[in-house]
């Protein structure tokens, strides 16, 4: 980078200096690939608003050059690439000979053996409650109805991927260097030909093509020296402060100057530490229900002063008013590692320079199969620059904001920013003091006028008018004084902060993190086998019980339903060691029902008793006061 402009040679050198080390999980089949051979292996299709599908460029004719130069296709049309086609899948299972078939079968065998290497973690469903398990079951059932990637696509993609890598393994990233808000940003765009999270690793979705990114944020001294300050790894749709780690954060593992990324199997989400991550798809209750639940909770805890220990730690089933569908990201880092010091080295990167190449800026379509999934999870993603709707992607146009760094000045600029801010606040404070002086004078003048006019009968409404203005002015002066006092405090703290910066002190490395995504603990991973089995069968068993009760116990429907729910709840609470909490909740529920019954049966008696009790209490309290 020279004079703020891109310089390809030095940019590539910079990218290579901090390129990540990617540690994959055993069982992973798709690794970061250059887009060029992938695009060559694809056909370009268009899905028109009317529902027609048409091949725009057949497989074999598509190149990076002509990908971005496609004619517009009217509103509602979706362009997409097809990496696998139905005939690939048919070929996989057709009988016959031929080298391609043999190769295809070998790839399938490889895929099967890779999946055998993968060991499923414990406790995906055991870690959440019934509602979430039920939602998970519905989600799986919904997959049958909504658009999705065909079941054998992972095999077909594996064959096609095998074709690309048959001569030589390719491990590539696409690098971009840019400057934003005082930061020098290195973007490592990683392209995977397929995401087999659902079919391979019990995850949420499968889709052709997968774009992931890793970013390194550098500061640059006046002498041109660069220093790594932060990293940010993409994981699903997360953005903001929790995504980034400071270079000196102990959680950030490094090989020399290369940050280590632990890649989740199938989903290719990136994590800092190896482990199994519970990724939760959070669904909120409708707002009125959530509000009512919140009001009741507050009444219980504040008005009735009931036990509030559970409020301190949110329920692991999500925030109040929501429930979650759990999926596990297996980012164990026990498989192939790619990058400096790893099992494989990176090939020379493909630079996304200036001007931005057509395949990035000109092609707004999807990079793989368009399944028309209403939840979008099974649709392929768009390229680095765009989201699935064709709009600009924040990680591309505002990487600093994407990582939550937009409020953090680069270290080389931080002291200047602090001093500049101090000067602004000091100037504002001076203005406020002048205002206080002026308005104070006015206030005192009005005060003596009001004092002089008070009690005189010959001044008409002058007294009232001045008194009213005096009150309003007093409030205004008080408000300005408060602002001035607040500015004085800010100035003081800015001075202290500037002093700390001059002394070379920094904030704690993890001060910005409010909710770090952490791998499951040993306790969570060692769920007992019985609890696992219970978690797996409980939802189905509950549904069967429900049907059995409706069929055989219609006479005592409510009692049978309540009894069966109680049994399920107690078994679950026993497994999770939450019996105390359950008993409390059940007691509260029963007490509310019993109170309603009593109110229904003895309403007036209760009113009379209440009034009598109140009267006696007041009498007792007053008499006690008299005795003192």
């Amino acid at each position: 980078m020279k004079d703020g402009r891109l310089d390809p040679e030095s940019d590539v050198a910079l990218l290579r200096r901090f390129e990540p080390v990617m540690r994959f999980t055993k069982g992973e089949r798709f690794y970061p690939l250059d887009v060029e051979p992938y695009v060559r292996a694809c056909g370009l299709w268009v899905h028109r608003a009317g529902g027609q599908e048409e091949a725009v460029v057949p497989r074999g004719k598509l190149t990076l050059e002509n990908l971005g130069r496609q004619p517009e296709d009217g509103p509602g049309a979706v362009h997409y690439l097809r990496f696998t086609e139905p005939r690939d899948i048919r070929e996989l299972y057709s009988r016959g000979s031929g080298s391609s078939l043999k190769r295809g079968r070998r790839v399938i065998e490889d895929l099967r053996s890779a999946r055998k290497n993968f060991r499923v973690g414990r406790g995906r469903l055991a870690r959440v409650g019934y509602v979430s398990r039920f939602a998970d079951a519905l989600y799986s059932v919904a997959l049958l109805a909504r658009g999705r990637v065909p079941g054998e696509s992972a095999y077909a993609a594996s064959v096609a991927y095998g074709r690309i890598t048959s001569e030589r393994d390719h491990y590539n990233y696409h690098g971009r260097v840019l400057r934003q808000d005082g930061w020098l940003v290195l973007q490592y765009w990683l392209f995977y030909p397929f995401n087999d999270w659902r079919s391979g690793f019990f995850g949420a979705n499968d889709h052709e093509a997968d774009w992931e990114k890793v970013m390194v944020f550098l500061s640059q001294s006046e002498g041109g020296e660069v220093r790594p300050e932060w990293t940010a790894y993409a994981a699903h749709e997360y953005t903001g402060d929790n995504l980034r780690r400071r270079w000196d954060d102990p959680e950030l593992e490094k090989v020399g100057e290369h940050p280590v990324v632990h890649v989740a199997a199938g989903s290719h989400a990136s994590f800092y530490s190896p482990g199994e991550y519970l990724t939760e798809l959070e669904l909120n209750f409708p707002a009125p229900i959530a509000r009512t639940a919140d009001r009741m909770r507050r009444f219980w805890r504040r008005t009735l002063r009931q036990y509030a220990g559970e409020a301190a730690a949110p329920d692991r089933d999500g925030a109040p008013g929501s429930f979650v569908i759990p999926f596990v990201d297996y980012a164990r880092g026990d498989g192939l590692s790619v990058g400096p010091g790893g099992d494989r080295e990176w090939d020379p990167p493909r630079l996304i320079g200036d001007p931005v190449p057509d395949w990035v800026s000109g092609y707004r379509g999807l990079w793989g199969l368009y399944t028309r999934d209403p939840f979008k999870g099974e649709d392929a993603p768009a390229g680095p620059m765009y989201d699935r709707g064709g709009g600009p992607d924040r990680a591309w146009y505002d990487p600093v904001g994407w990582a939550g760094l937009d409020k953090v000045p680069a270290p080389t600029e931080e002291l200047g920013v602090v001093l500049g801010r101090r000067a602004e606040v000091a100037a504002r404070r001076a203005r406020l003091r002048a205002e206080i002086e002026e308005k104070g004078r006015e206030l005192r003048g009005l005060g003596v006028e009001v004092a002089a006019l008070q009690g005189r009968s010959d001044v008409g409404g002058a007294y009232e008018v001045r008194k009213s203005r005096l009150g309003a002015l007093a409030v205004e002066v008080n408000r300005v004084r408060e602002r001035e006092a607040a500015d004085a405090t800010v100035l003081e703290t800015l001075d202290v902060y500037a002093g700390r910066l001059r002394a070379g002190e920094r904030e704690p490395a993890r001060a910005h993190i409010s909710r770090a995504h952490t791998p499951a603990s040993d306790v969570e991973l060692h769920t007992s086998r019985v609890a696992e089995v219970w978690a797996a069968v409980s939802v189905s068993l509950a549904l069967i019980c429900l049907v059995a009760i409706i069929v055989f116990e219609r006479e005592h429907l409510m009692v049978a339903l309540v009894a069966s729910i109680a049994v399920f709840a107690f078994v679950e609470a026993g497994f999770k060691g939450r019996l105390t909490r359950l008993v409390s909740s059940v007691n509260v529920g029963l007490a509310v029902v019993a109170a309603l019954i009593l109110a229904y049966e003895f309403f007036w008696q209760m009113v009379i008793l209440g009034v009598l009790t109140l009267g006696l209490y007041v009498l007792w309290d007053n008499l006690r006061e008299l005795r003192r």
């Binding site: 497994f575 007490a591 019993a594």
Partner: protein, 129 residues
């Protein structure tokens, strides 16, 4: 096909059950009534035992006293609500009133702090399997 076979066999058994009329409906109804009576009585006895155990726990300030006391309220209230729905006996009302007061007492912050000091929600060991 296996499911179909099991389903058809079940249907056949059900058909025989309907035709033969066995066991007699009166007998089933009588057994059910007896079971319900026994269940309600048993629940009250269990609640009484748990309440006694809870009282001992409170008397000697044993931390495990809270759970049996709370379970006694669960059983007491649950049985009363079930009986109210079915027979509406008069004695359920005072029991309900007393249990409500006990639930509020057992859940009050002071009592919970004494019996579960510094406990996190997930640390509950009562009855854990």
């Amino acid at each position: 096909m296996v499911f179909e076979a099991v389903g058809l066999a079940s249907l056949a058994a059900y058909h025989v059950y309907l035709r033969a009329g066995w066991p007699r409906m009166e007998l089933v109804a009588e057994l059910r009534r007896s079971f319900e009576t026994l269940a309600a009585g048993g629940a009250f006895v269990a609640a009484a035992i748990l309440a006694a155990v809870g009282a001992m726990g409170f008397l000697f300030m044993r931390r495990r006293g809270w759970l049996p006391a709370a379970l006694a309220q669960t059983l007491g209230l649950g049985t009363c609500v079930a009986l109210y729905a079915d027979l509406e006996p008069v004695f359920v009302y005072p029991v309900m009133g007393y249990c409500i007061v006990m639930v509020l007492y057992l859940n009050s912050r002071d009592v919970r702090t004494v019996f579960h000091p510094g406990r996190e929600p997930g640390d509950d060991t009562g009855g854990g399997a």
